[in-house]
């Protein structure tokens, strides 16, 4: 099978390298190809991206995070040695956690929520770029199809990640007011996990890449992995920086977010009606007597509420000045009843109308 990605055809690929030289050659791939060199990352870390561009990154990168345990499980499934599996399975635990609410994927979701996304939207992955999906899926296929050595070698980008994480956390905290330390909690763990994982993987590769051909395969695998990461940033740059060509169905700013939702809800005066609140009928909602049918109705957008005598008594007192408590007290006087009991009934009714968006406070 021919390698789909170019392998550096240096002298190093034609003769057997010492383990130390092999490690140096692998590290050299990182210094030339790792995605910290990508223009998108430079923009991200230097604070040159706007909030929506950071969102696009967080959203797309989620798919990579979410598929990492799938990738690692595929690697694990190919390991016939229990001692290898014991080490490797820790990666899955790190990402998935031992319980809901724990683990790297969860922390990435927190990051996505931190920049304003709805969790379910992120998890659906429906807004990610197709290039993200293709790259990540290619990685999963790679570790299934290639040798175990290549699968393990492809994870060696972890050797380079502590650098990028430090740059990223510092840069993002400094440059974006919408990013907090909590939002970036994902990276705290990775700072210790990645070197531990990388150490194991590099030892394995150094020990098992015992011929020039195997060493070449290991280098090609790492090169491939670098392109998996690089391509994802190419796609982000192309869609959300320049020329700004967003493919159909990909996320567009303003969608999938929860933050604005909360702001709008506050502004529109929605939410639970409580005793001290002053309820009012907004424009477009009217209490009216219907002479033809001989009853009161509440007219609202696209619907009519038939009202019984109690409802009419309450709504007649909704004047935009009286609180729910005031209304209950007045009704209690009229009907000679306990104002607390009346208030409870009034709250149920008014909250029902508020839920239907025909009453505000």
């Amino acid at each position: 099978m021919t390698a789909p990605f170019p392998t550096p055809m240096t002298d190093a690929s034609q003769r057997l390298l010492s383990p130390e030289d092999l490690e140096a050659a692998l590290r050299d791939i990182g210094t030339r190809r790792y995605h910290n060199l990508h223009p998108f990352h430079r923009l991200l870390h230097d604070g040159k991206l706007d909030k929506d561009q950071v969102r696009a990154w967080a959203l797309n990168r989620y798919y990579y995070q979410a598929m990492i345990p799938v990738k690692d499980a595929a690697v694990l499934a190919r390991m016939e040695d229990a001692s290898l599996r014991r080490v490797w399975r820790q990666r899955i635990v790190d990402h998935d956690g031992d319980a809901p609410g724990d683990g790297g994927i969860e922390r990435w979701l927190k990051l996505a929520e931190g920049v304003g996304f709805r969790r379910d939207y992120v998890e659906s992955t429906q807004g990610i770029l197709s290039a993200t999906r293709f790259s990540v899926d290619a990685y999963v296929h790679f570790v299934k199809e290639r040798s175990l050595l290549e699968a393990i070698a492809s994870s060696l980008t972890e050797m380079f990640s502590p650098t990028i994480i430090s740059e990223r956390v510092a840069g993002m905290l400094k440059n974006y007011d919408f990013i907090t330390k909590d939002t970036l909690a994902y990276f705290d763990k990775r700072l210790t996990q990645a070197p531990r994982d990388a150490e194991f993987a590099i030892d394995y590769v150094k020990q098992h890449a015992t011929t020039p051909e195997l060493q070449r395969q290991a280098m090609a695998a790492l090169t491939f992995k670098c392109t998996v990461l690089w391509t994802q940033l190419d796609a982000l740059y192309f869609s959300y920086v320049a020329p700004g060509m967003t493919p159909p169905d990909a996320w567009v700013p303003g969608t999938g977010l929860v933050a604005e939702v909360a702001e709008v809800a506050q502004a529109a005066g929605t939410g639970t009606v409580r005793s001290a609140d002053v309820p009012r009928l907004p424009r477009g909602v009217r209490l009216r007597h219907d002479e033809v049918r001989g009853q009161h109705v509440l007219l609202a957008p696209e619907r009519t509420f038939d009202l019984d005598a109690n409802a009419v008594a309450v709504l007649s007192l909704v004047d935009g000045q009286s609180s729910v408590r005031d209304i209950a007290v007045k009704l209690a006087e009229t009907f000679v009843a306990d104002p607390d009991v009346i208030e409870a009934d009034v709250l149920v009714m008014l909250n029902d109308l508020a839920t239907k968006r025909v009453l505000e406070r």
Partner: protein, 385 residues
């Protein structure tokens, strides 16, 4: 006020009047609910006649008036008509595309006492929306219009008609409604009458897409409870039971066309043998009680089996007469959207098949075209599809 009263003592009064003020519209949506043969400006009712119709409607018991079209703001007297509604205590609902002169008239409509605005949105992505509506630069106009509606404090409903060209945008419609400050969103799957019937193959989504859209709406309803009310109209062809069209024939609604013809529903003219009366010849009360078009399918007497003995006959009233005619070739047949119709399986298969094919180009709505012949023929029980 005309003294004629309904001749059936139990006849309920209509609650809604759909006033199609004009068929003129800057948009050319391929699913337009207007008839294929559109009324021309020269044939439209004048202001005084509309005011008389509204006065009669209020006397008859109508509570809601839906000022619709076409594009209702294309009428020069839209503000005057709205004022008349307010004076009569009628709840006025402007059903608008938000383009053309709509924004320019909005403040005056607000001052005239307009109660509610229902704004159509064809898509979330501007290019897609404008392709569907057949009008360049429509989307920014709509967004600006929506912004002014909420600025004025008028309640806003967004209406999105869903089909295969925008079904991937359901989530986006929800987000857009929230962003624009709408209180209601209608996620209305296309109903295949009129222009939508002609364009059915271009519009029909597949079952999986429909199911997905329903799941999205249900999740959003829960999430946005108390903030956004979402009304969902599911597509007939994939339903189990038909909908009670217009709340039942001649039970709740009257529809007055630009030329003054009074219909039980906006598609009723497709039933060619019906006799419709005009507001120029009869009072609304007379039409409601006695017009042959209204009495033809009112109640349950006209029903055949399986409707006649069905437990649901007073729930969905046999479904839609126009759809029964279009699909079964008989307006008194059970609506083939109903799982009890012998044609139901065929309808489902037809929808599945059309949704699987490459969609043909839209036949855009235009005044004075002759597209009747492009409409798909009725199904036959024994004929292969």
């Amino acid at each position: 006020m005309n003294a004629i009263t309904p001749n059936t003592p139990s006849l309920p009064a209509p609650v809604g009047l759909l006033a199609e003020l004009t068929h003129r519209c800057p948009l050319r949506c391929p699913y337009c609910s207007n008839p294929l043969e559109l009324d021309r400006r020269s044939g439209e009712l004048d202001t005084a006649t509309w005011q008389r119709v509204l006065t009669e409607a209020a006397g008859l018991g109508v509570l809601h008036v839906h000022l619709s079209g076409g594009e209702p703001t294309a009428r020069n007297d839209i503000v005057e008509i709205t004022q008349t509604c307010a004076r009569l205590g009628l709840y006025s609902n402007l059903i608008t595309s938000g383009v053309g002169g709509a924004l320019a008239k909005l403040d005056a409509l607000y001052d005239a006492g307009l109660d509610h605005v229902q704004l159509s949105v064809q898509g979330v992505d501007a290019a897609n929306a404008e392709k569907i509506g057949g009008l360049k630069n429509a989307q920014p106009q709509k967004l600006a219009f929506a912004e002014r509606v909420t600025q004025l404090g008028l309640p806003l409903t967004l209406n999105s008609v869903i089909h295969r060209g925008n079904i991937h945008e359901v989530e986006g419609f929800i987000d857009l409604a929230v962003k624009l400050g709408a209180k209601r969103l209608e996620v209305a799957h296309t109903q295949y009458y009129g222009w939508a019937y002609v364009n059915r193959a271009a519009l029909m989504p597949d079952k999986a897409q429909v199911d997905q859209s329903i799941r999205i709406v249900e999740a959003a309803r829960e999430r946005l409870k108390g903030q956004l009310v979402i009304d969902l109209v599911v597509p007939d062809y994939y339903a189990k039971y038909p909908k009670a069209c217009a709340g039942g024939w001649g039970r709740k609604l009257m529809n007055v066309t630009p030329a003054g013809k009074v219909l039980p529903c906006h598609a009723a003219e497709t039933i060619k043998h019906l006799e419709f009366w005009y507001v120029s010849d009869h009072s609304l009360a007379d039409i409601w009680a006695n017009s042959p078009a209204f009495t033809a399918y009112r109640g349950t007497d006209w029903m055949k089996e399986p409707c006649r003995s069905c437990d649901r006959r007073e729930k969905d009233w046999g479904g839609c007469r126009c759809q029964a005619l279009a699909l079964a070739g008989d307006a008194a047949a059970t609506d083939p959207a109903c799982s009890l119709s012998p044609l139901h399986t065929k309808v489902r298969e037809l929808a599945t098949e059309e949704a699987a094919e490459t969609p043909p180009d839209y036949v855009y709505r235009t005044i004075g075209s002759n597209v009747d012949r492009a409409a798909p023929p009725p199904l036959k029980e024994d004929a292969p599809l």
